[in-house]
Symmetry: C2
Subunit: 184 residues, 2 copies
């Protein structure tokens, strides 16, 4: 039961949306908002091979008789889809909001078409609870840092973190309301 890496998860999610080649995926990582993933061939091709070995994706050789550019287009298998859905549906823990915020957002982003809307709403509910608790905890620490006689960059940096989390909280509340209202 080895936990797959974030990169592998991202690859599964992208391949669920659209069957494509390693090169296509690299371009996505290089040019879109998923930039924080490396687009280096040394990370992506080995990761694709691992997914292939686990039978979560398959490579179909492209338009015949031969594609001179030997492109390999990958698509999700049923097992891959299951893995993806399982990962997306994981509960939101305090550990996640502390250490894995980007991955949580990725999970939310991949929910479309993979899980019912109720799951997305539950995700946001849990997210608000855990993140809210964490922000309170941080606030407590912040107050103990004492009335700053002069301005310390350390305290300011800490504040920046809190405000970032608060923005995410706000976003979650708004998004949950949107999803709840929205018909269908």
């Amino acid at each position: 039961m080895k936990r797959q890496s974030s990169l592998e998860f991202a690859l599964l999610g992208l391949l669920q949306q659209q069957a494509q080649s390693g090169y296509d995926l690299r371009k996505t990582f290089a040019t879109t908002a998923m930039r924080h993933f490396s687009d280096s061939p040394g990370s992506i091709y080995p990761a694709l091979r691992r997914l292939e070995e686990r039978r979560w994706i398959t490579a179909e050789s492209p338009a015949l008789p031969v594609d001179p550019r030997r492109r390999r287009v990958f698509r999700l298998t049923a097992a891959g889809r299951e893995t993806l859905v399982a990962r997306i549906s994981l509960p939101v823990t305090r550990q996640d909001v502390i250490w894995q915020l980007p991955e949580l957002m990725l999970r939310f982003a991949f929910m479309d078409g993979n899980v019912p809307r109720a799951t997305a709403i539950r995700f946001l509910t849990d997210f608000e609870r855990e993140l809210g608790g964490y922000v309170e905890e941080l606030r407590g620490q912040w107050e103990q840092m004492g009335s700053l006689v002069s301005i310390h960059t350390g305290v300011l940096a800490f504040q920046s973190g809190i405000e970032g989390f608060e923005a995410q909280l706000e976003w979650a509340r708004r998004s949950r309301a949107l999803l709840a209202e929205e018909p269908r």
Copy 2:
């Protein structure tokens, strides 16, 4: 000219503030806002040894004749201090705001007592410029995602990212004003 890891940088910064043992550092990582660093012994002790080998820190044996608990208290050397200051003073690039935001905040947090206030102000100026540019770019992508007939979690997740960055921008502007006003 090998680039040191974020962990090594964090260790240098903490040791500059206070000479302490590996165990103390682990506790800091485990309990404070620097939680996103692992507190596992398998990461910290080897990292401390690397820093020791490069002569950036030294271990002094504690209160003699013998500390039965064989605590090793580390402190920065002059060379270590130089390394720390150099890393803190690095220019803020677009790459940094995209891929290394947490590390940027760490650099800002460690500025106190290590670099003049003007450096902190310049940091924020550059930070605002680069982050502002990146946010504009993201907004452009967002508009091209098209008027969402229905609400997609993907689009919402994207929005969350933008709003997070905007919160950081706001913070930078406010903090820069504070630093500029503040006397001394």
